[in-house]
Symmetry: C2
Subunit: 123 residues, 2 copies
Amino acid sequence: MTQPSKSELTILKVLWAEAPLSAREIQEKVGPLLDWSFSTTRTTLSRMAEKSLLQLDTRHRVRVYTPVESKARTLSGVMREFFDTVLEMKGPLPTAAFHDSKMLSEEEWAELDRLLNESHDDD
Amino acid sequence: MTQPSKSELTILKVLWAEAPLSAREIQEKVGPLLDWSFSTTRTTLSRMAEKSLLQLDTRHRVRVYTPVESKARTLSGVMREFFDTVLEMKGPLPTAAFHDSKMLSEEEWAELDRLLNESHDDD
DNA sequence: TGACGTGTGTTACAAATGTAACATATACGT
DNA sequence: ACGTATATGTTACATTTGTAACACACGTCA
């Protein structure tokens, strides 16, 4: 499970909020944020699809992108990696401390907690 | 303030524990961990010095390396960046939640807390 | 039917990072 | 003085990521 880079995470965030979206639609959202040209956005989307971070479909004759993994699953991986390497905390993590981040809903936090702190060998 | 990569962080960790160290000494500690050849370690050390992550001195006719920034300062930057981009938590962070990480002593946690949550415009 | 906008495939190049060899200098022991 | 180990300088090449242009196909509108 390859971790998304910072830019890739930005794209994933807009897609978690609303998917599937076309490259053009994604560009309208992340272009201003990342100051990217449409080409750049498209290249990054292609690479994300290659890496199976995104799934590709065709709707109304256009390519649309959907995240393969849920927000909770992806962020749990990113967080696990971070705490492992930076703080060397291998065991359960104090996820309650982050619950006031607006990034996830209550249900998503519940899923993330489960993923981080319970059985760890799926996927 | 360039953030250290994962490998660079590994090197910084051994130097925070004991510095200054020569390339050879560092290799003895990180080589097994990272499965690196001596050359690789040396290249990374050079680049870290270029980026001013490490300071270079000569002791007993050998080059020795010392971290420029303290563990607390470096980790506070890394953590700030992480919570910003991943969880979009911009304000104060619940650092108490991490205090059982063995990475830092009580005093270092105190420094890190101060850096993360108080005035934010030094260095 | 021909120009134009939009979608898509392909290619390009630079910087950062991972990973390492080669070559040279220098000190230390014999 | 000579060989040998260690230290240091330099160079190399691949992969990932950032950043983007070029070229072509297709549908729509005049």
